[in-house]
């Protein structure tokens, strides 16, 4: 792969680049049909308007990195075009915004009904108790969902455990959230969200990258312009801040 100005047509006949595009499509989609469709979409988009998107490259970054950004941007466009037009069944829409949110979470994003209830609480979309929620989601359970064929027979509401011990963690905050019962988890997530919004732009992105997207500290530091050691110190300080806020609201690790 040559990181210099290449003729756009040559870029698109390079087997190395085509293999990378294919790999990215496979990474985004498990369904072979979507992999193939997205691949074709990307190639067509790159060719469009006399390779306009490739000619937009100014040589200020490595060509490969630019191509990765471009290809991922196109994949997101493809996904939104294809699945953005998904319709929520009319029977669910009639129930209200909260029901649409549950449908999206459970059918499209494959959260459980229990998880969906927690997110509704955080977003303020459903204020009733859990028992009321269990009754009101009955019609949603019967709604068809092509993306998740198991949806119709999904029965996630049974003995509701107080601790979400099946929720694995990859960082201290996620680990803590996973150990809390449902009420404290909702509260903790709200506190984390509020605390994050109060941080500087750099700290917000640092937290998002490391604890939200689980990037390495070194990678996140490079993005934000810190040294890795400085980023680690900063994260330690930020974790203390989260810890103090959580403790002040009565949230501690069980």
């Amino acid at each position: 792969m040559v990181d210099n100005f290449m003729d756009p047509e040559k870029i698109l006949i390079s087997s190395d680049i085509l293999a990378r595009i294919e790999a990215i499509c496979k990474r985004h989609f498990s369904n072979e049909n979507d992999q193939n469709e997205s691949y074709v979409f990307i190639i067509d988009s790159l060719r469009a308007d006399n390779f306009k998107r490739l000619r937009a490259y100014k040589g200020k970054s490595k060509l490969t990195t630019y191509l990765y950004s471009l290809i991922n941007s196109l994949i997101i466009d493809f996904r939104r075009k294809k699945y953005g037009r998904r319709r929520i069944p009319a029977g669910v829409v009639k129930l209200g915004k909260w029901a649409e949110a549950v449908y999206r979470l459970v059918c499209w994003q494959r959260f459980s009904f229990d998880d969906a209830y927690d997110f509704l609480q955080i977003e303020g979309l459903f204020e009733g108790p859990y028992e009321q929620y269990k009754e009101e989601i009955a019609p949603i359970r019967k709604a068809p969902c092509r993306e998740n064929p198991a949806f119709q027979s999904l029965d996630e509401v049974g003995s509701r455990s107080l601790q979400n011990t099946n929720s694995p963690s990859s960082n201290p905050l996620e680990f803590l959230i996973g150990k809390l019962d449902q009420i404290r988890r909702i509260k903790a997530l709200k506190i984390i969200r509020e605390t994050t919004a109060e941080l500087s732009q750099e700290d917000q992105l640092l937290v998002r990258l490391v604890y939200g997207s689980e990037q390495s500290v070194k990678t996140a530091a490079n993005i934000i312009g810190f040294s890795a050691s400085s980023a680690r110190r900063r994260l330690k300080s930020l974790l203390n801040r989260y810890r103090e806020r959580l403790l002040s609201e009565g949230i501690r690790e069980p």
Binding site: R20, A23, R27, I75, I192, L205, T219
Partner: protein, 195 residues
């Protein structure tokens, strides 16, 4: 990826997300070549634009795959390392053939050790949640990481985890160690918490 924090911390689209970041600027951000003013402007946008943040996430994954030597998945029979390893094994078998009978009747010694987990080991452990690894490259990276920590190991060709590893360092709590036991060319790994 932690489902709770991933969803909770995702940037919510705002008015700012109507105009998106320049893709080459995003690329330069990934490479760390933006100046301070450009970077600060872009950071502010990324904290407010779901699409641009997602492009950044995905680009980081692809760049990371590239730098870890996996630019694109290739069929195993196309990899030179497979043939190099096959040739090495054949060489060892031929030269060491006279010792085969002797070794057949011996039990392989069992090696075990406890190690502090550093970021290199975590990165290898967290690549996926498979309980068994047969991927030659990944095993080689693990052996290399263990060598750096002073463990003199023979080659093993299978790794078995007691459970998938997720970075479980508690905000309030314990350290972790990696217990490794090598027996019959299989490495058994277990991450334990210590107080």
């Amino acid at each position: 990826m932690g489902k709770w924090l991933n969803k909770t911390l995702k940037p919510t689209d705002s008015v700012e997300s109507k105009t998106h970041a320049d893709l080459e600027d995003l690329a330069r951000l990934v490479e760390g070549t933006l100046d301070n003013a450009e970077r600060n402007r872009l950071l502010r946008h990324l904290n407010r634009c779901g699409k641009c943040y997602e492009i950044l996430q995905e680009t980081l994954k692809d760049v990371s795959n590239e730098t870890s030597g996996k630019p694109a998945p290739t069929a195993w029979w196309k990899r030179k390392s497979v043939y190099a390893m096959a040739a090495s094994i054949l060489f060892i078998v031929i030269i060491g053939g006279q010792f085969v009978y002797k070794f057949r009747t011996q039990q392989f010694p069992v090696l075990s050790a406890n190690l502090a987990i550093d970021q290199e080991l975590k990165d290898i452990l967290m690549e996926d949640n498979a309980l068994q690894w047969k991927n030659v490259e990944r095993i080689e990276r693990l052996i290399s990481a263990l060598h750096k920590k002073g463990l003199q190991l023979k080659q093993f060709n299978l790794v078995v985890l007691s459970k998938p590893y997720y970075q479980t360092k508690s905000l309030f709590g314990p350290e972790e160690i990696l217990h490794i036991r090598i027996e019959n060319n299989v490495a058994y790994l277990e991450v334990k918490e210590i107080q």
